[in-house]
């Protein structure tokens, strides 16, 4: 997701600012913890879909750390597998939206004129749709598989990135070092990818980090409504539906996935805002 700044000014100053920002570090720790959860899923020997009705709705205990659900499945194991889904959806959806956003924004900002007008009016049109209902409508026509969800979330969330990249390109296009490269005879491709884009990526990195949180939230909401990740594949969103039915008697079924969603989204937001502050040249130490 975006290349980290290569120049040593950015490397030194940005890293130092990031490491001095406790909230950003907390966010990074949460994100790291979720990665560990997702990886840990591969190391459990328990099948997240193994049904054992004799153990249904067991409260948290030493034997079942986060309890069991109505079909006797281990909630902890299902949480770990859910973390995988969330990470996958977050990164693939944001990857798609970032790629499309960079491409459209770069074309609009670099070439300007009618290319800019066409691309940006299309962005305006896309922004007119209430995104969540657009996703609902599209998913209603397609199979609600996890891949379709990632693609649809990606295809409906690139407009912000496109606007950011376009604005960066408009200002960088007139900078002296870009003009110098043009005077040297650099081709459009060289100007865009070697001179302008690397200098336009910082805000994209911030928006992508915040975008992961949004994508995870959207996936959870879709799964909760039953048109996201389909059972028996566990995701935090569809675990919540089961929990909803037994909210009065088995609190652990909804509280753990709910808290996981909350904390993950919070973690990405804290990290994203931390990166934004660290990259902001106006903030002095």
């Amino acid at each position: 997701m975006g290349s980290l700044p290569r120049s040593s000014f950015l490397r030194d100053v940005v890293w130092r600012r990031l490491l001095n920002n406790r909230m950003a570090l907390a966010g990074a720790a949460i994100v790291l913890f979720m990665f560990i959860m997702a990886v840990a899923a591969s190391f459990t020997s328990v099948d997240p879909a193994a049904i054992d009705v004799s153990k249904s709705l067991q409260p948290p205990s030493w034997e079942h750390p986060l309890g069991t659900d109505d079909l006797g499945r281990e909630v902890l194991v299902r949480m770990l597998y859910g973390a995988r889904i969330s990470l996958l959806v977050g990164f693939v959806a944001v990857g798609i939206s970032t790629l499309i956003g960079i491409l459209c924004g770069a074309l609009a900002g670099y070439y300007g004129g009618w290319v800019d007008a066409v691309v940006m009016r299309f962005v305006d049109i896309m922004l007119c749709f209430p995104t969540f209902f657009l996703i609902l409508a599209v998913i209603a026509f397609l199979d609600p598989s996890i891949w379709n969800i990632m693609i649809v979330i990606g295809l409906t969330s690139w407009m912000g990135v496109a606007r950011l990249v376009r604005a960066e390109f408009l200002s960088l296009r007139q900078r002296d070092f870009v003009l110098a490269a043009q005077v040297l005879g650099a081709s459009d491709v060289r100007l865009i990818f070697r001179h302008i884009l690397p200098n336009a990526l910082s805000p994209v990195l911030v928006s992508a980090t915040l975008g992961v949180a949004g994508a995870i939230l959207t996936e959870s909401a879709l799964s909760f409504l039953g048109i996201g990740v389909q059972p028996p594949t566990p995701s935090w969103g569809n675990m919540l539906i089961i929990g909803k039915q037994t909210l009065g008697s088995a609190w652990w079924l909804s509280v753990f996935p709910g808290v996981a969603i909350l904390i993950t989204v919070l973690g990405y937001n804290l990290l994203g805002e931390g990166i934004r502050d660290a990259l902001d040249p106006r903030i002095k130490e």
Partner: protein, 327 residues
Amino acid sequence: MALLEVKNLRKSFKVLDPLGRNSGRLVAVDNVSFTINAGETLGLVGESGCGKSTTGKLILQLLKPDQGQIYYAGTELTGLSAAKMRPWRRRMQMIFQDPFSSLNPRMTIGAILSEPLIIHRLVPARQMRDRVIELLEKVGLSAEHEQRYPHEFSGGQRQRIGIARALAVEPELIIADEPVSALDLSVQAQVLNLLKQLREEQQLSYLFIAHDLAVIEHVSDRIAVMYLGNIVELCAASELYKNPRHPYTEALLNAVPVPDPHHARPLALTGEIPSPVNPPGGCHFHPRCPYADHRCRQQAPALETITGDHQVACHHSDQVGRYLVRG
């Protein structure tokens, strides 16, 4: 034949009001013509916003002129496609005013200097590093600077890197857009000397853009003075300093400080430079001109040759020089 010939160049920009509506045109360069011969330095002076930099960008085809032509060694450059323009880009280069924005912050000095060599396939990959070091040494830097990033250098050093980049393609003409105005005074002299030394070594021609006559005096063979998009006076440098024939040139000369407390203080130019969106009628300079009369308010003077190769655009060029007191 002149190396560079600029004929009747005109460039205007659309001006939009805050609501994005078209509210007139800013004429940045209007009917500008001049030539630069091989090995010659033409100085181009004027206040900020008078169209000096726009002229430089037009010559390098960074902007498309509304009217007029640019000939380089007899070939018309205006209207060439980017691909057809590329071979000509080897022959003319630019040095920028602000050394802090003219180098890509994400590239090492080595990458910045090898880029022109790669674009024009001038040096095989094996010899790239040697050539880069040679360029660095030519501008007074050393091989150890190759791996560093622009932010690690001072303004003067960055300007030297910008000069090295321009020299990489071995150009004949360099458009220097206020190359020293962003530098400290002591560094200005060093960079000016470097530019002069390179001119001798490489037989370069310069279009040297500046906003004060003190800087330009020592480097130029001929000087063109611009005011609000027009060239108002064009002649040999020595002639301009001895015998200015346009009241604006006279005022600029008077603005150069003289380190002598007994030196007679000349009249200062009053008023602000008018907006180029809505320039004054007649001669653009008349609201600020001590010689202006009825005719100047009605009729714009054309650039005319008065003696030899001394060109002036003023109805009263014969009277100018009257209030210039030389100590």
